[in-house]
């Protein structure tokens, strides 16, 4: 498979990158690790006129700690996150997600920014041009048909990023910069929930930082992922859990994020209603598992059936909850 022609741009500074992005806008794609964009171009799913490399911009790499936060720059590789004592110590489920992401050779190149902004996927979309040439254009490519759901009125492609559920569960924000301004928003607000256009990011905006708040209380976290084999798999469903307790020993914060169950991550907003105590009953946990199932929008568009994924979303959520409770009881 050969790549289509494009012009490569290699700005040396962030400012220059933002100007370049503003100038070429929708005609430009960004390459950091390249593990997503190059594959998309090889499959003919993306054909930008310009490809902007971030390799020369050193300020977009690295992990640092401030008084209340840890900041991961967007071009930091997944392997660098795995090796970071700062992340390992403070954000267990983020390390777990990084370790379960694809396989080590991908982790060595893939960046956290690229992983967050990876496009939604579908069995009928992430295919070769030859395969797709036999199908009518679907919603994902601007058509008016869904091949996964007969009579479907929208795109059901699945957001399968590994890092996002854990990052959201810790309450992370992201910094988006453009030529003359920047904005910091909750990572959860980046997602539109729409398969056709999954991110609320402008074409001239660059994701530069992921900001994870530090927690001073006792807390536990966990990330669980369903996959067919142990390496090189996108999650078929995943669940990240963050639990924290107050000085009375009661849970005061429960955040559960379900991944690969819809076109964006699904957050169980009211989890703390069901889980108030550390020794929550099995019924409470079952209720959370039921909610995870109700939130899911699964159809037959991944390598296993929607029915199986719907069963497993409950199992994965329960496992992740149990592991987070264990982590909490160990002291985070």
């Amino acid at each position: 498979m050969r790549l289509p022609p494009f012009k490569v741009l290699e700005p040396g500074t962030k400012k220059s990158a933002l100007l370049t992005l503003d100038k070429h806008n929708k005609n430009l794609k960004i390459v950091a690790g390249g593990t997503e964009v190059v594959v998309m171009m090889k499959l003919g799913l993306s054909a930008p006129l310009y490809l902007m490399s971030l390799k020369k911009i050193k300020v977009l790499r690295g992990i640092r700690k401030t008084k209340n936060e840890v900041i991961i720059k967007s071009s930091t590789s997944i392997n660098e996150i795995l090796q970071s004592p700062l992340i390992n110590k403070n954000f267990k489920s983020i390390t777990q997600a990084a370790k379960l992401l694809a396989a080590p050779p991908i982790q060595n190149r893939a960046t956290i920014g690229g992983n967050i902004l990876q496009d939604t996927r579908c069995l009928y979309y992430n295919q070769s041009e030859f395969f797709r040439s036999g199908l009518k254009p679907c919603f994902k490519v601007g058509g008016d048909i869904c091949h996964a759901v007969k009579g479907g009125k929208r795109c059901f492609s699945v957001y399968q990023g590994d890092m996002v559920p854990s990052l959201i569960s810790f309450g992370s924000k992201i910094k988006l910069e453009k030529k003359d301004s920047s904005r910091t928003v909750l990572l959860s607000d980046l997602f539109t929930g729409k398969g056709e256009n999954p991110f609320s990011i402008q074409p001239n905006e660059l994701l530069t930082e992921i900001v994870i708040p530090l927690h001073n209380c006792n807390y536990g976290s966990s990330y669980e992922k369903l996959r067919i084999r142990k390496g090189l798999e996108y999650p078929l469903v995943s669940a990240a859990v963050f639990l924290s307790e107050n000085t009375d020993g009661n849970l005061d914060n429960v955040r559960i994020v379900i991944g690969a169950a819809a076109s964006g991550p699904k957050i169980i907003e009211n989890a703390s209603i069901y889980l108030k105590r550390k020794n929550s009953s099995d019924e409470d946990v079952d209720e959370i598992a039921n909610i995870s199932d109700n939130l899911s929008e699964m159809v037959n568009n991944l390598s296993v059936s929607a029915a199986y994924r719907r069963k497993m979303v409950q199992v994965v959520t329960k496992r992740s909850l149990q592991n987070a409770f264990q982590d909490l009881n160990k002291g985070g």
Binding site: M1, R2, L3, P4, P5, F6, K7, V8, E10, V31, G34, T35, V38, V39, K42, L43, L51, S53, K55, N79, A102, A103, P104, P105, I106, N108, R109, K230, G231, L232
Partner: protein, 156 residues
């Protein structure tokens, strides 16, 4: 599309290549430099046949743009052996019958080589995790794990 001149450091040799930017490192290695030990299979970064070392770490050369690796140290399977003399890890793969059709072997060996450099005594789980991105359809992995484990026991 314009050609670009790129300086590549491959197996301790410098190469100045004039190339269109839409070419991958794998294409340059195989088509321009005749380093055909690096294999192409899926072309989508899945199978691991095209694995090379970039600054000592295994990466997929089939989805790595050549312009992205300028100035970095690249090691291919040809760089592991000293001419006709094989690296001890390659010898171990032969000794333990860890090679059948051989198509995955260059990538598999380089991945294992990188693991042993950073962790000279990996346990079986660590070995299996390290090679989890390299697909082998012949051996069932058991012989490959044995070969790598033998090297760790020898203290490679």
């Amino acid at each position: 599309m314009y050609k670009k001149t790129v300086l590549l450091k491959i197996n301790n040799e410098e190469h100045i290549i004039s190339t269109y930017p839409n070419r991958t490192l794998l294409e340059i290695l195989r088509d321009d430099l005749c380093l055909t030990g690096t294999k192409e299979s899926c072309g989508e970064g899945i199978c691991g046949a095209c694995t090379v070392l970039l600054d000592g770490l295994p990466v997929r050369s089939c989805i790595l743009l050549v312009t992205e690796v300028e100035g970095k140290e690249i090691t291919t399977i040809e760089g592991l052996s000293g001419g006709e003399k094989l690296d001890p890890l390659q010898e171990a793969f032969i000794e333990y019958h860890a090679i059948q059709c051989g198509f995955c072997s260059p990538g598999m060996i380089l991945t294992a080589y990188s693991l042993l450099k950073s962790n000279p005594n990996p346990d079986e789980e660590e070995i299996r995790h390290a090679i989890s991105g390299n697909i082998c359809r012949c051996t069932g992995y058991a012989k490959i794990v044995e070969a790598v484990k033998a090297m760790s026991e020898k203290g490679s």
